[in-house]
């Protein structure tokens, strides 16, 4: 199984879209070929959503959740990073599964009440 050590690739701060793109470029070709990948977050300290959106969330565009559960192994991700990742996955699943899930202007206009 291919092992990707994120600290070696990006460093201890995984926070930008560009950081995520680097990880995505290493992960995606393996997964799309049906090969398993281990992504190791050991020694990575700071996470933010742009990184996970770009590195992991985007995988859901082309790969089914069942396949990702089978092929992608996430290791050594600390609890704050896991919390961000879970939120990103939840959002990405909705985003890529249903284009209309994003709130429409109609709905915003119908929301008459604004907080005071």
């Amino acid at each position: 199984m291919k092992k990707i050590i994120i600290h070696d690739m990006i460093g201890e701060n995984c926070i930008t879209i560009d950081d995520g793109q680097q990880a995505y470029d290493a992960i995606y070709p393996e997964l799309i070929a049906g090969k398993p990948v281990e992504v190791d977050f050991d020694r990575v300290k700071i996470f933010a959503s742009p990184f996970f959106n770009s590195a992991i969330g985007r995988l859901l565009k082309d790969i089914e959740p069942e396949a990702l559960n089978r092929l992608l192994v996430i290791n050594n991700l600390h609890s704050d990073g896991m919390m961000v990742l879970k939120r990103v996955i939840e959002n990405s699943k909705q985003y890529y599964s249903d284009e209309t899930s994003r709130k429409t202007l109609e709905e915003i206009l119908l929301e008459q009440s604004e907080d005071q």
């Binding site: 701060n13 926070i15 930008t16 879209i17 950081d19 300290k45 700071i46 996470f47 933010a48 959503s49 742009p50 959106n53 770009s54 969330g57 985007r58 859901l60 565009k61 959740p65 069942e66 990702l68 559960n69 992608l72 996430i74 991700l77 600390h78 609890s79 704050d80 896991m82 961000v84 990742l85 879970k86 939120r87 990103v88 996955i89 959002n91 990405s92 699943k93 909705q94 985003y95 890529y96 899930s101 994003r102 709130k103 202007l105 915003i108 206009l109 929301e111 604004e114 907080d115 005071q116």
Partner: protein
């Protein structure tokens, strides 16, 4: 020549209104503006971040800026010296360490420089380090990065982003203000829906409410976005901190009990975020999480 009378600035709602009033007085090209501090009895970090950005905006618009340093009260002069504001605007004074978090200008999203600032100068104060674990410090920095990411990716600010902060040891609080002088969140939301003429009349508050909802983003690249503000909001609530956001006539306040957006009278064309976080480890329960069950 316009003489801007800088008022006393704390970080209550009316104080932000006073800052936006200053912006409205100098919203033009090729102005000569003098900042006069005769009426200013106190100037918090939010005022420092805003005034610095405002001065840079005037310069960007081919104007000229002068500061009447001699009108500063001694305690404000000392604070502006300590946080580097004086040095940033040509006054020969080198910044030094204290309870002020330095004034900072970022023209572009320099990840390493900003994270270094947050690590060593914002949360890196020895007092803060004594109160919170490294894990919590990293979590706080990650959430605050979401503010910078939004400012750089959506703000389109011609002068980048200005920041300033302050420690409040008595209240165990860390504060930080991040300001961009770009097009503002409401303009981005209206542009996002520009296929429908009704978008033009969306109020600023409605636009902010939309922006704070999970999954909503004006980014049109094919990457799911829109969880940054949501994560930040949740973190502030757990932390028992406070988040104030102002953009155009819209304002939002988030704390443990409040989650509100509203329209106000004063307009400011950029976005200002003021965050207050408690340095109290007891609000968090970090675990060495071993993930069980399907992730996707």
């Amino acid at each position: 020549m316009i003489v801007l009378q800088v008022p006393t600035i704390n970080d209550g709602p009316h104080d932000f209104d006073r800052l936006f009033d200053l912006w409205n007085q100098v919203n033009g090209d090729r102005l000569t503006v003098v900042f006069d501090f005769s009426s200013c009895k106190f100037l918090q970090h939010n005022g420092v971040a805003f005034l610095g950005g405002l001065a840079r905006l005037i310069e960007y618009r081919h104007g000229r800026v002068f500061f009447k340093w001699e009108t500063l009260l001694k305690k404000i002069y000392t604070n502006l010296g300590q946080n580097g504001f004086l040095a940033a605007f040509g006054f020969p004074k080198t910044a030094w360490r204290g309870n002020s978090v330095p004034y900072r200008e970022d023209q572009f999203q320099d990840k390493n420089a900003i994270i270094n600032y947050l690590k060593t100068r914002w949360i890196g104060h020895k007092w803060a380090q004594a109160h919170i674990s490294e894990k919590l410090q990293d979590a706080m920095i990650g959430k605050v990065w979401e503010i910078y990411a939004n400012a750089f990716e959506h703000g389109l600010s011609p002068i980048g982003v200005t920041s300033c902060g302050q420690y409040y040891p008595d209240h165990q609080e860390l504060k930080l203000t991040v300001v961009d002088f770009g097009i503002g969140i409401p303009a981005n939301v209206r542009l996002h829906f520009d296929y429908d003429p009704r978008a033009r009349v969306l109020t600023a508050a409605k636009c902010l409410r939309w922006a704070f909802q999970r999954g909503n983003t004006t980014d049109t690249k094919d990457i799911s976005r829109g969880v940054g503000l949501d994560l930040l909001k949740d973190f502030v609530k757990i932390n028992k901190g406070r988040l104030d956001l102002f953009s155009h006539e819209g304002c939002a306040r988030i704390d443990e009990k409040i989650d509100m957006v509203a329209n106000q009278t004063n307009f400011f064309e950029g976005t200002l975020v003021n965050i207050t976080l408690k340095c109290d480890e007891s609000f968090y329960h970090f675990s060495d999480e071993t993930f069980e069950g399907p992730l996707f």
